[in-house]
Amino acid sequence: MSLDRHRIAARVARDIPRGSHVNLGIGQPTLVADHLPPDSGVVLHTENGMLNMGPAATGGDVDPDLTNAGKAPVTELPGASYFHQADSFAMVRGGHLDVCVLGAFQVSVSGDLANWHTGAPGAIPAVGGAMDLAAGARRVFVMMTLFAEDGTPKLVPACTYPLTGLACVTRLYTDLATFDLGPRGAVVRETHGPTVAELSGRLSLPLAGGPARH
């Protein structure tokens, strides 16, 4: 059965190694935090300047000086640290994050990422830290639905939206399947419902198939 966004997030969480330093992009990737086991030792980085960020703040814990990259109030865990933007992006760009999880408009089979700009005339784009994360994290995971609402595939031979980064995404988690991406193209790790052949047809893409089907 296809996965909802919470189950995609849980699927991503399962692949994050214990003790990793991880940045979760704004929007759906934030959900991954809810699915990390309490003893995972995973340390969350938020690019506005903090390590060991805790869960969302509520009620009296809300502090306007303590937010995540989406500007939502959060909490700090024991062992947290704060730092300024140049230091925060030195971490990101210097290859110190083990994993970063981003959303996307489109991902190409070779791992190109498009997630900052629809390219539509008159659209005001916003990039934030996406290009730095795409270029700097050791592993870039993307989570998204495999098809847009109008049925258009979001895993494509080559992105048509403006790029965020080239050949940066190594793994793609979607509602219908999980893929490894890279120079060999897209390899299906597992599917959630459809067969590899069905996916290949709907995507109009050759797909190397992994054995797992859930």
């Binding site: 000086d65 303590l66 500007k71 933007q85 005001i124 830290g129």
Partner: protein, 218 residues
């Protein structure tokens, strides 16, 4: 030597038309609202503003934009749920936008403060935001050449200052303040409290006073 000002109006005195103004904050966290309000009152126009966002809601930077004082915004993330002021001006062709990846924004201001003439980095290589920029292959990877971003003035928010201008911040409100403080000819700081030298732990000072010109408690 830092000057401790009595009012925000005194702190922003002399900002000239056409200045490049670095404005701290990530959304409203760390936004020096009293200084921005004083700058609106002061009247400087035709400004280039460098800030992570292009204003949130109707206060702070958004109010400066609404007052028509800003010619151009250099930022990483202008489009948000509450960025209606910027969006209106931009759609009306009344404000210019230079979009810069957040890490480049920070590193380019650090470079200005640290005497780095230019640097190569992989962020944005092969994308629209690197179009027209010089590139170089280093260790098999395409790097883009980026130049410093300098301010005539920086307006930042911090938590506490001592009378020598040493600053400490609070939590993620630290964000761009320490970087902008190094990158501007004149750095103006809004704090919650000014204390005597010796009060702040020398191990924990984040912005040493050498980078600070004017301080106001507001």
């Amino acid at each position: 030597m830092a000057v401790i000002c009595d009012t925000a109006a005194e702190a922003v005195r002399g900002v000239e038309d056409g200045s490049t103004v670095l404005v701290g904050g990530f959304g409203l966290a760390g936004m020096p609202v009293a200084l921005v309000d004083a700058l609106i009152e002061q009247g400087a126009a035709d400004l280039t503003v460098v800030s992570n966002n292009a204003g949130n809601g109707d206060t702070g930077l958004a109010a400066l934009l609404a007052a028509g004082r800003v010619r151009k915004v250099v930022c990483s993330f202008p489009r948000q749920a509450d960025s209606w002021v910027f969006e209106g001006l931009h759609r009306a062709g009344k404000i210019e936008l230079e979009l810069v990846p957040q890490g480049n924004l920070a590193e380019r201001m650090r470079a200005a403060g640290a005497g780095i003439g230019a640097f190569y980095c992989p962020t944005g290589a092969g994308t629209l935001l690197a179009e027209g920029k010089e590139t170089r292959e280093i260790d098999g990877r395409t790097h883009v050449l980026e130049y410093p971003i300098r301010g005539d003035v920086a307006l930042i928010g911090a938590h506490r200052a001592d009378r020598m201008g040493n600053l400490v911040y609070r939590k993620t409100a630290r964000n761009f303040g320490p970087v902008m403080a190094t990158a501007a000819a004149t750095t103006i700081v809004q704090v919650a409290e000014v204390v005597d030298p010796g009060t702040l732990d020398p191990e924990s000072v984040v912005t040493p006073g050498i980078f600070v010109d004017r301080v106001v408690a507001a």
